[in-house]
C-alpha cells in the first residue's frame, strides 16, 4: 500500500517535470481544451441560470390561470364569471387580472401593460429596466402613448422596476386600473383573465379539470405546465447548441489523437530510456495517465472559470442571441450565479472522456516501445 503510494508520487513527480519541460507543446493542447470547456460550460451555465431565472419568475405567478375562449381565441372574462368560480370547492383567492400589449412604433417593440396590486397612482406608471434604457428614461420623466381612442396620453414615470427579475419585467409598463381601462377603452367589469390558487397544491390539476367541466368555454393554465414548457424549451435549445458543438468535440478528439500519436522523436527516445532503466509498460501508462489527469483538470478549471466569468460577469455576450433573444427589448441580465453538480459532472465527462478515448491507443503504442530500442539506435 505504502509502496504503491510512493510509486504513484514518484511517477507524478516525473510527470510534472516532463510537462514543464515541454511547455510549448502542451500549452497548445491545453488552450484548445480549455477553449472547448469554455464554450460548453458557457452554454450550460447560461441555460442553467436562465432556467433558474424562469423558475424564480414563475414562482411568483399564480398557481392556475383561467382564460375564457371564444372560437378558440382568448377573450375577455365577462362580469359574473368570477363569482361562479368562487363557488367551486378548493378554489381560493380568485383575482381578476388586467393586462395587454401595446406596440410602440418609436422603438418598434411591444410593451406589456399590466395592472398590479398595489398599482401606481393614476397618471403615473412604473416601467421595466430595458424600456427605461431604450427610451432614455429615469424616475420623474414623462412618457407619452397614443391611446386606442387616438389621443396622446402622457404618463409620469413613478418608478423603474428593479433588476433581479429582468427576464419577465424588461418590457413591463405598470399602470393603475383606471388608467388601463381608459387607455385601452376596456369594458367595465371585464378582466383579461382570472388567477387563483388551490387549497391543496397537489390537487391543482384535479380542480382545473373540474373547472373546465363546469365552465366549458374556459381554459385553465397550470403553473406546473408553464414551468415544464420553459424547462423543455431551454433544454431543447441547450441540446441544439451542444449538438452543434459536437463537431468541435470531434475535432478536439482528432487533435488529441494526433498529438498523442505524433510523439516527437525526443519523447519516444525518452520512453525508450525509461523502459531500459527499469520502467515497465504499466509504469509508463500510469505516468501518462497522470499527465492526462493534470491536463484535463487544468483545462477544465481554466475553461470553467472563464465561462463563469463570461456568463455571470460578462453578460454571456457570445451566447445571448442564440439562447435568449426573441425581442427588441433585450433584457440585460445580471444572472444569479448557479453551480450545479449534474452540469459539472456532465461537462467533465463530455470533455475528458473523448480526450481519454482519443489518446488511449496512441499512448499505449508509445508505452510499449521495446526496452532494448535505445541500445539498438
Amino acid at each position: 500500500m505504502r509502496a504503491g503510494i510512493e510509486r504513484q508520487l514518484a511517477l507524478l513527480d516525473f510527470t510534472v517535470a516532463s510537462l514543464a519541460r515541454r511547455k510549448a507543446r502542451n500549452l497548445g493542447l491545453l488552450a484548445v481544451f480549455a477553449l472547448l470547456v469554455f464554450l460548453l460550460a458557457s452554454v450550460t451555465l447560461f441555460t442553467r441560470a436562465l432556467r433558474q431565472e424562469a423558475a424564480a419568475v414563475l414562482a411568483g405567478t399564480p398557481e392556475v390561470i383561467l382564460q375564457r375562449m371564444v372560437a378558440g381565441r382568448h377573450e375577455l372574462v365577462p362580469p359574473g364569471y368570477r363569482e361562479r368560480l368562487g363557488r367551486i370547492r378548493g378554489v381560493q383567492k380568485v383575482e381578476g387580472r388586467l393586462w395587454g400589449y401595446y406596440f410602440d412604433p418609436v422603438i418598434r417593440a411591444n410593451y406589456t401593460f399590466m395592472v398590479t396590486d398595489p398599482a401606481p397612482r393614476d397618471g403615473t406608471i412604473a416601467i421595466g429596466p430595458a424600456l427605461a434604457r431604450l427610451r432614455g428614461l429615469a424616475e420623474g420623466g414623462t412618457l407619452a402613448f397614443r391611446s386606442y381612442a387616438g389621443e396622446l396620453r402622457a404618463f409620469r414615470v413613478a418608478a423603474v422596476l428593479p433588476q433581479p427579475t429582468e427576464l419577465a419585467s424588461a418590457d413591463l409598463v405598470l399602470v393603475s386600473e383606471k388608467d388601463f381601462r381608459a387607455f385601452f377603452a376596456y369594458p367595465e367589469g371585464c378582466f383579461t383573465d382570472l388567477a387563483f390558487s388551490v387549497a391543496n397544491p397537489q390537487e391543482a390539476r384535479t380542480v382545473a379539470a373540474k373547472l373546465v367541466r363546469d365552465l366549458p368555454d374556459a381554459r385553465a393554465i397550470l403553473r406546473e405546465d408553464s414551468l415544464r414548457a420553459y424547462a423543455s424549451l431551454f433544454d431543447w435549445r441547450e441540446g441544439l447548441v451542444l449538438a452543434m458543438l459536437a463537431g468541435a468535440l470531434l475535432a478536439f478528439g482528432i487533435l488529441a489523437w494526433d498529438k498523442a500519436s505524433g510523439l516527437s522523436a525526443e519523447e519516444r527516445r525518452e520512453i525508450g530510456i525509461l523502459k531500459a532503466i527499469g520502467w515497465e509498460t504499466g509504469d509508463i501508462l500510469r505516468m501518462k495517465a497522470w499527465e492526462g489527469v493534470l491536463l484535463c483538470l487544468t483545462a477544465f478549471l481554466l475553461g470553467y472559470v472563464a465561462a463563469y466569468a463570461h456568463v455571470f460577469h460578462g453578460g454571456a455576450g457570445l451566447l445571448e442571441p442564440v439562447l435568449k433573444g426573441w425581442a427588441v427589448l433585450y433584457p440585460r441580465f445580471a444572472l444569479t450565479p448557479v453551480l450545479d453538480g449534474l452540469d459539472l459532472l456532465t461537462l467533465l465527462l463530455l470533455t475528458c472522456v473523448p480526450y481519454t478515448a482519443a489518446v488511449l491507443v496512441p499512448t499505449w503504442r508509445a508505452a510499449t516501445t521495446d526496452p532494448d530500442s535505445v541500445m539498438r539506435s
Binding site: T44, R205, E224, D225, L227, R228, A231, S232, D235, W236, E238, G239, L240, L242, A243, A246, T281, G282, L285, G341, L342, D343, L345, T346, L347, L349, L350, V353, P354, T356, A357, L360, V361, W364, A367, T368
Partner: protein, 330 residues
C-alpha cells in the same frame, strides 16, 4: 427523444464503451488462439503488449460505468420536471419502458467489469499469465454483450421518452399495493424486511471477515444477498426514516441535498463492498492454479477486508439514520 446534454453524454459514454470493446474483440480472439508464452516470436511479443491495452480499456469502461450510473440517476432526477406526475428520478425512470432496466443493466455491467478486473489483476501476478485465455474469452463473451445490451437499453429508453408523458412517481410507484417489483418492495412487511436487511448485512460482514482466507464463494454469495437486501431495505423501510414520512418509499430522493446527500453514504460503500465481495468469489475457481496459489489468498484477504468494511459502514449509516430520525412507526 429528449435532446439534453446529460442524455447525450450518457449515450456517448455508453457508445464509447461498446466501441472500445468491439474494436478490441478481434485482437482478444487472436490472444485466445495464438497465445504461447514459451515463444519469443514477434507475434507473441505483440500479443503480450496488447494485454496492457486491454486491461486499460476495461478499467476505462468500468470507470465510465461508475460515472454513468451516477449521471443517469442525477439526470433522471433533474428531468422529472418534464413529466407530469414525476417528482424525482423514479418518475423519470418510469416514464419510458426501459428506465429501470437501463439502470439495472448499468449496475450489472459495473459489477461484471469489477470482477473481470479482479481476475485481470490476479492473472498479472502469476508469472505465466495463467488466466489469459479465460480472461479474454470473458471479455468478448460477457463484457462486450453486456455493454452492448446496456447501450441498447439506454437508447430505447431515451429515444422513447416524450416530454409531457404522464408518469407515476415514487409516491405511487413505491406505494403498498401498487404492484410490480417496486410496489412489492414497498409493500413488503417492514418487520421481516428489517430482519433480512440487518441479517444479510451482518452475515456479509461476518462472512467477509471470518472467511477471508478461504470462503470466497460464500463471501460472494453473502455480498450479492446483502446488496439485494440493502436495496429492498432502503425502499421498504429505511427511506421512511430518511424522509420522516410514513409513505415515502423512494431509493433516490435521499441523494438530494434536502436529505443531506445521505444516500451517497449508503450507496458508495454498498457498491464498493459488493464489487469486492463478488471479486473474491471470482477468484475462487483459480485458487489452485499453481502460479497463483501464492497470491490468491492474500488478494482474497484484501478484497474481503474491503467488503467487510464497506458492509459495516452501510450498517452503521443505516443505524445512524434510524437513531437520528424523528419518525416513529407503530
Amino acid at each position: 427523444m429528449i435532446l439534453q446534454p446529460a442524455v447525450l453524454t450518457l449515450l456517448l459514454i455508453s457508445a464509447l464503451g461498446v466501441a472500445v470493446l468491439l474494436a478490441a474483440a478481434p485482437f482478444a480472439l487472436q490472444v485466445i488462439r495464438r497465445w504461447d508464452l514459451a515463444s519469443g516470436s514477434e507475434l507473441q511479443l505483440r500479443l503480450e503488449r496488447r494485454t496492457y491495452l486491454f486491461s486499460t480499456l476495461v478499467a476505462f469502461v468500468m470507470a465510465l460505468q461508475l460515472a454513468g450510473i451516477l449521471l443517469f440517476v442525477l439526470n433522471a432526477d433533474r428531468m422529472a420536471v418534464q413529466f407530469p406526475g414525476a417528482m424525482c428520478a423514479v418518475g423519470t425512470l418510469n416514464a419510458g419502458r426501459f428506465g429501470f432496466g437501463a439502470l439495472l443493466g448499468q449496475v450489472a455491467l459495473f459489477f461484471l467489469a469489477g470482477m473481470w478486473l479482479t481476475l485481470n489483476h490476479a492473472d498479472s501476478l502469476g508469472r505465466d499469465y495463467p488466466l489469459v485465455r479465460i480472461k479474454y474469452a470473458l471479455m468478448v463473451g460477457l463484457l462486450l454483450p453486456a455493454a452492448a445490451a446496456v447501450l441498447a437499453l439506454q437508447w430505447t429508453y431515451f429515444s422513447g421518452l416524450r416530454a409531457q408523458t404522464l408518469t407515476s412517481c415514487c409516491g405511487s410507484l413505491f406505494a403498498e399495493g401498487a404492484g410490480g417489483l417496486p410496489g412489492d418492495l414497498a409493500a413488503l412487511p417492514p418487520g421481516p424486511v428489517r430482519a433480512a436487511f440487518f441479517g444479510c448485512l451482518a452475515l456479509a460482514v461476518a462472512a467477509a471477515w471470518f472467511l477471508r482466507r478461504r470462503g470466497g464463494y460464500l463471501t460472494g454469495l453473502a455480498s450479492a444477498a446483502a446488496f439485494a437486501a440493502t436495496l429492498a431495505g432502503i425502499t421498504s423501510f429505511l427511506s421512511l426514516y430518511v424522509y420522516e414520512h410514513p409513505h415515502h418509499h423512494c431509493p433516490f430522493c435521499m441523494l438530494k441535498a434536502e436529505f443531506h446527500h445521505v444516500g451517497y453514504a449508503l450507496y458508495v460503500p454498498l457498491f464498493l463492498a459488493t464489487a469486492a465481495g463478488l471479486g473474491t468469489a471470482a477468484l475462487q475457481p483459480f485458487r489452485r492454479v499453481p502460479t497463483l496459489s501464492a497470491f490468491v489468498p492474500a488478494l482474497s484477504v484484501r478484497l474481503s477486508r474491503v467488503a467487510a468494511a464497506g458492509f459495516l459502514l452501510v450498517l452503521l449509516v443505516a443505524l445512524g439514520i434510524l437513531w437520528r430520525s424523528h419518525l416513529i412507526l407503530s
